[in-house]
Amino acid sequence: MLACCLAQASTAIAQTAPGDSGAIPVQTIAQPPPPNPATNVKAEDAPNDGGGSVRVTWTASPDDGAGRKNVASYNILRAVSSPTGAGAIDTVGSATAGNTEFTDGHTKDGVPYIYIVEALSSVPSPEGAPVMVAVRSEPTGVAYSKGQWFHMRRLNALIMVIIVCGAILYFIQQASSGKELFIRKIAGLDAVDEAVGRATEMGRKIFYIPGTQDMDEVQTLAGITILGRVAKVAAEYEASLEVPVSRSLVMVTCREVVKEAYLNAGRPEAYNDSMVYYLTDDQFGYAAGIDGLVMRDKPSTLFFMGAFYAESLILAETGNSIGAIQIAGTAMPAQLPFFVAACDYTLIGEELFAASAYLSKEPKLLGSLKGQDLGKAIILLAILVGIVMTSFGAISMGTSDLDKLGNYNIGQWFEVQ
């Protein structure tokens, strides 16, 4: 009964006003010829989601980009299936010509739906004004949406996470049991004591800039971790430290860290809340504020540790212009060249995250660095394997065109010709 109703609907050719694509057929016309309908329409639960969506696929109408070339777009119609027949047909979305897939993201899990794809064509009417002609496909079978318990396309990520985290945990355990671990020298972190000592000798301030992002950014956390070490050394050397920040939560956290560092250094009386202060959340307002402070106070040392965007060079060049010793660290690849050009030392990417382990020499933290290195070795090996396979692919295919090789299905390479 249901299939019969929808089949009747699917053969209807509708003439509707432009923009009224979901309306019910009102007039059957003979001329000009309508486009052929989309075929092979299928509906299935959208994979790898939390439910609430159905994916509709179809084979494009023969007139979509070919034949009469008159398919302008597709409407996707949906009806709820029930034992007594289909419910009302609603338009749930549209796709431009050339597309063969649509995801209906507004379904209820467990409800049976049926879909129809309607090919639309704009044709002139006998009166001359353009009208939309719609041709419906055969209806799909019943489809339900449901949530998945595992994102299959992330299986490779899960395997990599298990390997890397396993390696990190293994080396942490090794380090805890007293095994000596070698960590290469990081010049930027070795220079912290020297930079703080210089400020003390010159009787000038140290400015510590923990980036422009909030506490939900892991680079900010890494920057604050290094702040603890810098503050402790500054307290021991009796240097003057200032931490202008651009986020309220960062201000509160930095205060706790600096306070604790001064306490650990045995100089709690030297700490006061005004050492850490808020300037503004605004990116360039913050840069202007720091630049003003730098030009007026002429600090001897500047630390830039955290996430930075376009303000990185504005800050670092201003510091450079007053001859301050500058140590920067960020994991923003686009800003690294600016810091390298303008600062004395730069912690590049991963070195920023390694800083806490490097500075504290805590075995457990050092162990995590070794695990990280193993992860790098695995990726390096995978890259080498990829290079070898691509090279063999190039030889066997007789082309060095990487674009062609990139599109080449590696599965085909192993097929017996």
């Binding site: 202060y277 840069a287 690294l336």
Partner: protein, 219 residues
Amino acid sequence: MRREIPTAIAFFVGIICIIQFFIPHRPFGTLVDVFSDWFGIVAAFAIWLGALNLLKVSLERSFSKKKTHDRWYGLVVAASFFLIFIIGMFMSGGDQFQVPGSRFDYLYVNIYTPLSSTMFALLAFFVASASYRAFRARSWEATLLLIAAFFVMLGRAPIGDQLTGFMPEGYRLSEVANWIMTYPQVAGQRAIMIGIALGVASASLRLILGLERSYLGGE
């Protein structure tokens, strides 16, 4: 308990964030959005902490006995703070303060935006001075950088192809520049990105497991 409770919260939230990446099913798939909303709410309330701190520091500088330039800057900040606050809250039509034509919008468009653009524009001059320093051939790395930059900059300008128009296809400056940007540059950048990704994973694991607690103060 001052450290244990935040560490437990970090562990719980961190584990949930990892799980939801692999399990899209409810409730895991939606929990991260909930946590993100909570963070937004906490951060919104915390703005007051920052704003009041800014006002306090500025007023302290303004009325400080030290006769420095800072006192005038402090005064300007405090006056601007009150001006934008009063106009935004009481003289711009209540919750319609952002509507074009309101007094708040007038200040935003005519004062804030030009000031912000001016700071951004300074970047052009800083890029020039930083490039000059970076490209001085003091070491072989800097010389390499200088040569690469020479080819890329010339290759990206029309004059590059005019100068090398006689060369066979594939060897003209624009093509050399594209090759440098597509292969050596991308390879270097990807190496840094891989290091960063592993660094983030390692740092996150340390935070989730509570091995790294210095952000809570001390240790």
